[in-house]
């Protein structure tokens, strides 16, 4: 049974999503319990799967029984399974949060809303597990189509943002597909392990280098790397409050994970360090993103836009960690990716609660309610500790290992970029706290009643997770160091 877990993890949300339009034809209200049930099952299976894979080693699941170069395979190693536990837990929390914040005027389309969320989660699972380049593209597209629809679901200005996201996202997917076709032309196969085997003989081919660059630009658009980030702030700030946590915490991070798979598992650590200097490019773009994203966040007045730019700068920090070409940097990058997924979810839960419960959208207004809203301010303190990277939180340990990796690689520019972006992150959170603790105006009416229980759960659990990831960083990092390193690193 345990060898079916990777396939089950993908099939549970998919099955729930496709059965929903039929099952909920008469009973619209069933859509939410079905979605919650499916994701709870997924959380259970993902934890079982992780423990099984730590114990028994990676699983390569061949769909329909066709062996790997011919058939489609799922690669479930420790890295993928660990990310999947985070993905399913955050998906479940985001779904709990989506209940009280779901757009009110959806009517019968509420069924489609939950179908889209489940499809998004199942396709993200597909990206994490995909064992060949083309399936990565397919699931990238399914995830993107679901996100376009979810961004635009409540109409109005969101439609414009969704359309812009659609145009840029499609461009990214097309460039990625172009890169894949170059690889296919050069190597004659799409399976990642198969390409990795054939690639050492093909390094003189310009198609491989060109294809790699196309894939980098394509996935760069998907993960909102700085020169290509223009779609993200609009899409995430105009998206309904119920869907922005899931988009911000998962979609860009999973695209980044796809890129990690390609450079370290397909191209191989030896090649990117000695023959094709792609790591240098990734590192420079990462440093730029880390600093520019934080500067842009500092200039924002809208709460959600500020957090969206914060996410862009953190993508840069993860990329710096990945691009150091040593085990310390790699592990730091992956650990920071996990932390950033949790922190982004927490930030957008916070923004959603501020908007839906207190009617606050800007930094200025946030200061007015901040003092009277203990849940909001309390969790903001913990999240900001994590975002800045102060010791008891997971953000600190992630940045610590990334900086150690950069020092090991004698990459002082990257260290400087991380420190600068940390200072700028501190600056925009100080801006927020300055509003809260200096404002003495009286409270508004909305403050008198308690926020709904779901809001408290989501914020409390993600804030606790930020702390717990810091306190238990040692077992996670040693697990990554011993079992999740790419070959040759």
């Amino acid at each position: 049974m345990s060898r079916h877990f990777p396939a089950l993890l993908f099939l549970i949300p998919l099955f729930a999503a496709i059965s929903m339009p039929v099952v909920c034809l008469k009973h619209r209200g069933w859509s939410r319990p079905i979605a919650l049930g499916a994701l709870s099952a997924m959380v259970g299976v993902s934890i079982l799967n992780l423990s099984n894979i730590i114990e028994n080693g990676e699983i390569r699941y061949a769909f329909s029984g066709w062996a790997s170069p011919i058939g489609i395979e799922w690669v479930a190693d420790v890295l993928a399974s660990l990310i999947l536990v985070a993905l399913s837990l955050l998906g479940l929390l985001a779904l709990i949060f989506a209940g009280p914040t779901a757009p009110k005027d959806l009517g019968g389309r509420i069924v489609h809303f939950y179908t889209l969320i489940l499809l998004l989660i199942s396709s993200l699972t597909g990206i994490v597990f995909a064992g060949d380049l083309f399936n990565l593209f397919v699931f990238l597209e399914v995830a993107a189509l679901a996100s376009y629809a979810l961004v635009g679901v409540s109409g109005g200005k969101a439609l414009f943002a969704a359309f812009r996201y659609l145009i840029l996202g499609t461009l990214g997917a097309s460039l990625y597909l172009l890169g894949v076709s170059y690889f296919y032309a050069a190597s004659g196969t799409l399976n990642m392990a198969d390409i990795a085997e054939r690639l050492p003989h093909l390094l003189t081919s310009k198609a491989v280098v060109g294809g790699l660059l196309f894939m980098f630009i394509g996935l760069g658009i998907k993960m909102a790397l700085v020169p290509f980030h223009a779609w993200l702030p609009d899409a995430y700030s105009y998206a309904p409050e119920s869907v922005s946590p899931i988009l911000a915490s998962l979609v860009t991070k999973v695209a980044l994970l796809g890129w990690v798979r390609i450079i370290y598992w397909v191209i191989g650590a030896k090649v990117i360090m000695n023959e094709i200097p792609i790591l240098l490019l990734v590192g420079v773009f990462g440093s730029l993103a880390a600093v520019i994203g934080a500067v842009l966040a500092l200039t924002q007045t809208n709460l959600k836009r500020m957090f969206a730019y914060g996410g862009i700068s953190h993508i840069g920090i993860i990329l710096i960690g990945i691009s150091q070409g040593n085990a310390t940097g790699f592990v730091g990058g992956v650990f920071y990716l996990l932390n950033d997924a949790v922190m982004q979810a927490a930030l957008f839960f916070l923004a959603g609660m501020a908007i839906c419960h207190y009617g606050v959208r800007t930094v200025e207004d946030f200061g007015r309610v901040g003092r009277q809203a203990p849940w909001l301010t309390g969790s903001l303190v913990i999240i900001s500790l994590g975002m800045i990277g102060l010791p008891p939180t997971g953000g600190f340990f992630g940045k610590w290992y990334i900086i150690l990796g950069a020092l090991e690689a004698k990459n002082y520019l990257a260290v400087g970029a991380i420190l600068l972006s940390t200072l700028l992150t501190l600056a925009y959170f100080v801006k927020l706290f300055d509003r809260i603790f200096r404002d003495n105006s009286s409270s508004s009416d909305a403050l008198n009643h308690e926020p709904p229980l779901q809001f408290k759960w989501c914020l409390g659990l993600t804030s606790a997770a930020i702390m717990l990831l810091g306190l238990f960083s040692d077992p996670i990092v040693s697990l990554l160091l011993t079992q999740a390193l790419p070959p040759g690193l």
Binding site: L11, F15, V22, S64, G65
Partner: protein
Amino acid sequence: MIQPHDSIIVKSLGRFLIPVIQIFGLYVLFFGQYGPGGGFVGGVILGTSIILAVLTFGHNASRSQIAKKLLHGDGVGMLIYAGVGGLCMIGGGEFLNYAHLEIPGLEVASRRSLGIVLTQIGVALDVAVTAISIVFSLSAEEIIEDSLNG
């Protein structure tokens, strides 16, 4: 709103052509095991026949009511596909490994054949419904709204 076409030629030809197209679609669908064809192409042809019916007889005609009902079937096709795959998993094989479709009295070869036919029927249903719903949503938004809210 799609009005019925007022030309007698279009209507009579439609009455004659629609069943022919449907039979051809079914042929393509089931022939997919042995040669070119299969669920996707067969589904497109079946969907086209219903689109033709809606265009000639209008979307309030009795035939078009079937099409509107079919709009809810977009999940059914996928369910058949995933269901067959799931049965293979229950039988002890990988997802969609038809050899493990546990049906007593069938050899492995005929199990594979049956499995492919069933999944292709699911694919055909899904593609047909998608084609119809694209035409409906391009022509009249309120049809889908009605069918969802009603």
